[in-house]
């Protein structure tokens, strides 16, 4: 199939960008979206141009690096799928596709479709860990975890930190990410000791990084490639309110 792409091109974070139009000819159904971009880039390179920069690593939906907004939807039209796992059979011959980077002040564009997601790392550093002595691995079955809690913790732990939730949110809020990174610890016994302080520290860092405020639209859950539920946000809110009302330091 032949497609027309409108791609956001931006030299550096301080440069002002614009959309450039490219033809993608001879695209096959079984290519992934990134394969299709590779194809376009080969032609751009052959013609002596600067290839479209986009981030990618695993290309199997687990590293979280490949995010881009495709026709107005973070990671494109296919539900619970990262851009790298999106296949071209989701499009048809003659389609026009708009491709944009994540848009959030906390995610500055580095080049073209690549954004800096270090703000996520700082949210995790603020509290998304448990304090334990490292050393030899403890016995896996020493602490019993009820099955429903283990499942909920695992579902939250599926978050790959891609940032689609921020990209889709009309408030550019990162509450779904923050909530997932708090919940995979707050459902298990090891995460209880620091639970309330963690919620407070992570939310305060979230705010300081310049993410917006959640208004419970649910756009994040809709685009999340890992199907993280907005219920985790409610849980994080509860922990934060508890922390505040019991006087636990909010930083």
């Amino acid at each position: 199939m032949d497609l027309t792409l409108h791609v956001w091109r931006q030299e550096t974070s301080s440069a002002s960008g614009s959309f450039q139009t490219y033809k993608a000819a001879g695209v096959s159904d079984s290519m992934s979206f990134l394969d299709m971009l590779d194809l376009v880039n080969e032609r751009i390179t052959r013609d002596g141009g600067d290839p479209i920069a986009f981030e990618h690593d695993c290309r199997e939906g687990i590293c979280g690096s490949c995010g881009m907004v495709i026709n107005g939807i973070a990671h494109g039209p296919h539900k619970m799928t990262t851009a790298c796992q999106l296949h071209m059979r989701s499009f048809s011959d003659g389609d026009e596709i708009w491709i944009e980077p994540w848009r959030a002040k906390a995610f500055p564009v580095l080049k073209d479709l690549v954004v800096e997601r270090a703000a996520f790392d700082r949210i995790i550093q603020a509290g998304g860990y448990i304090s334990v002595r490292t050393g030899s691995a403890p016995d896996a079955n020493a602490i019993a975890v009820p099955k429903p809690d283990a499942d909920l913790a695992f579902d939250a732990a599926a978050c790959i930190g891609c940032g689609a939730c921020v990209a889709a949110c009309p408030n550019a809020s990162a509450m779904l990410f923050t909530a997932a990174k708090a919940a995979h610890l707050s459902y298990v016994p090891q995460g209880q000791t620091e639970r309330l302080g963690r919620a407070a520290a992570m939310v305060m860092t979230h705010d300081e990084e310049g993410f917006g405020n959640c208004t419970n639209h649910g756009a994040c859950q809709e685009v999340c490639p890992k199907g993280i539920s907005v219920n985790y946000i409610s849980r994080l809110n509860r922990d934060l309110l508890k922390a505040t009302l019991t006087g636990i330091s909010v930083g």
Binding site: E100, A104, A172, A200, L240, L241
Partner: protein, 227 residues
């Protein structure tokens, strides 16, 4: 007080204060709607109800005592609610930065997208409403303490009635999302409760709309007339 200030510092805390003030306001609009329906009982009932409110708490409190306590509490709730809404709005707008060229917003409900402008409309309406039926400043023929009469004459103007209908529509829409949203904001997790939050919010907003619309529609339809 210190805890309230700490709470106000985080985005989640501001939102929780919005939720609590929102619930208080929602309780008020429900009671107010039920009170309005006294119109259908006739002039004596309606005017008597107004006197009852004025004398509530008397002689323990002075006349108008409870009324003024309620007015101050409501004013404070509106103030906190609107201030937090405004500050969070600013923050969220700054957080997006550059806008998308193409946005597929099909996943948001109309109600959730109109919370902010809808809230502004409600606020402007409340100011107008007080000038209309409480102080009489913008009423064409206002007579102090003749509540039934003032309401009927007020709604005999079709543009005024239509404006009231639009405003209570905006209120219903606001609460359709708001009363659903409060459960997340306040971290309610119990599945027995969260299962009913959509029907609860939808039911209450429809009830409020119908209850509030009944009076202007009743006047325009000629069911409520001057004695």
């Amino acid at each position: 007080m210190r805890q309230a200030l700490t709470l106000y510092r985080s985005s989640v805390g501001k939102k929780a204060l919005m939720a609590v003030s929102g619930i208080l306001l929602a309780g008020f609009v429900l009671a107010h709607m039920l009170g309005n329906l006294k119109m259908f009982q006739g002039p004596e009932a309606m005017d008597g109800y107004a006197v009852f409110l004025k004398e509530l708490g008397y002689p323990v409190l002075p006349e108008y005592g409870v009324l003024w306590i309620a007015r101050i509490a409501l004013l404070a709730a509106v103030g906190i609610h609107a201030l937090a809404a405004f500050q969070l709005w600013q923050k969220s707008r700054a957080a997006r930065g550059a806008a998308y060229r193409k946005e597929d917003s099909q996943v948001f409900s109309y109600a959730s997208r109109t919370m902010r402008w809808g809230g502004v409309i409600i606020l402007l309406f409340v100011v107008y409403h007080i000038l209309h039926f409480t102080t009489g400043t913008v009423h064409s023929d206002f007579e102090y303490a003749s509540v039934y009469r003032n309401v009927v004459i007020g709604f005999q103007s079709v543009p005024v009635s239509l404006f009231y209908l639009v405003a209570v529509g905006a209120l219903a829409l606001h609460l359709y999302h708001g009363l659903w949203s409060v459960f997340s904001t306040l971290g309610v997790q119990n599945p027995k409760v969260t299962r009913i939050r959509r029907p609860l919010a939808a039911g209450l907003s429809i009830l409020l709309f119908v209850g509030y619309a009944a009076v202007p529609v009743g006047v325009m339809a000629g069911i409520l007339t001057l004695p």
